[in-house]
Point group: C2
Chain length 250, copies 2
DNA sequence: TGTGAATGTAAATAACATTTACATAGCTAA
DNA sequence: TTAGCTATGTAAATGTTATTTACATTCACA
């Protein structure tokens, strides 16, 4: 349990000193390069400068290494989503969209984690810790959806927060999987994945009756019940934001 | 090029008679069971009753077999989506949703194809034929979106069809990936993946200003300009369909 | 300082992917 | 019909991987 010599002797000596971490890092790099499928246990060992059998002192098998990475990924993912949500500041809709962008950013900036988490074919539900980590990450979206649902404009039925969360999750995951990674990212799209997702979420929220031309509300006007336009207008003006969420219909 | 004896001698003899097809079928089964990652070329050969080297007479390597399956998958996918779209009958929105359900149905009923197409890590854009097949499938959604966009209600700006298509695709793919396959399917959801996607699409369409309580329009009332409520109401009544697309807010 | 627990290594096993040299069957042209 | 070319298979060899086992080296600490 004690890694007193981490820095001191990262490489030489009979004992590596920090093999577990070194293996995780090596694997992370390999997965980023060749995908979870291409990554090999032996390669990671080689990269860490140890024999092919050494990794088994730290991970039951290849899958456990992968799970560890996925787990760590979900934790970082949760952290980033939580940071993006920032407890709904400056206003719920803005923060909500920031969460969406954070989702895409994570997928783009941490391909190895994202791959291990969502594209490695790992049986997430077979590993309680992993499952829990995944759940915690999702709960950030869910909590945000909860807050958003609470803002449902008068006249519109209050949408189930869980459903909203699942919807948003599926949009973010769909965009990330299809357009924001790997070769799919090279498709010629009319807009960036970020813009695509933002428009998608905005249109969706509009469909629920939310006002979607976010704008920092007057001080202290939110969390309290209703944001600016929700209180005033008819909920959803058919025209919506000038030009719609997708910009000018030139 | 001549397979005169396909049926006659499917098994015995020095020559298999139909190895290529047999390998594809075997691989399909194996992928359905253990995923594209778990599938092995050797297993497929064994299953077809030939030596491990025989498959190389029909596929450059393991990846080419996988590509062939993905290709075939995209073709069947396109076929099913086209059938579901049914040229927009009985009305555009209904047909559009049917396409969404067909997407999920395909993911559920053809896990092997879906896996090879979207979860095998195949570099789709590296294979022109595969890329083209994928494009053709997407074009079904795109064409449907085109028709839908043309129905944009008066007062609402006409949304770019391509964007709509990408949005719908991402929703369907997101729901399929997250909730409609593998272990993720076992999550305790408040509704089925089908219902989830349907609600998502309906809310989205509502966000674009479309009337979403589909109902076969009066004969010949559609394609022509505007469907029932779009002509009458204010485009998007804040209340929308009674209870909203997700059912009664009990 | 002696010793058990932790961490590594080497060697062995079994499964794959892939290649190569050789065997056999099918088909076509003389 | 048959010689010979082509397509399709096989067996054996190579090189890599995952994983296990028996043995070696350190570490931590009583």
């Amino acid at each position: 349990m004690s890694w007193r010599k981490e820095e001191r002797r990262a490489e030489r000596g009979y004992h590596h000193g920090n093999l577990k971490e070194a293996l995780l890092q090596a694997a992370l790099g390999l997965i980023a390069e060749k995908g979870a499928a291409g990554f090999t246990f032996a390669d990671a060992a080689r990269m860490a400068g140890v024999s092919a059998a050494a990794p088994y002192r730290h991970f039951r098998d290849r899958d456990e290494l992968l799970s560890s990475i996925a787990q760590r990924g979900f934790e970082q993912f949760e952290s980033r989503l939580t940071g993006a949500w920032d407890d709904g500041r400056p206003d719920t809709v803005t923060a909500f969209e920031r969460v969406g962008r954070a989702y895409l950013a994570f997928a783009r900036e941490e391909p190895a984690f994202y791959n291990a988490m969502f594209e490695s074919g790992l049986p997430v539900d077979a590993n309680p810790a992993l499952q829990a980590a995944s759940e915690r990450a999702f709960n950030v979206i869910r909590a945000a959806a909860e807050r958003l649902a609470a803002l449902a404009p008068r006249g519109a039925p209050r949408p189930p927060a869980m459903m909203m969360a699942l919807h948003i999750w599926s949009m973010a995951h769909g965009v990330a999987s299809l357009f924001s990674r790997g070769d799919a990212a090279r498709r010629k799209l009319p807009m960036s994945p970020d813009e695509l997702l933002e428009a998608e979420v905005l249109i969706y929220l509009r469909g629920l009756g939310f006002p979607t031309d976010r704008r920092a509300p007057a001080k202290g006007a939110e969390p309290p019940p209703v944001p600016p336009e929700a209180a005033s207008g008819s909920g959803v003006p058919p025209g919506g934001t000038p030009g719609g969420p997708w910009g000018k219909p030139k």
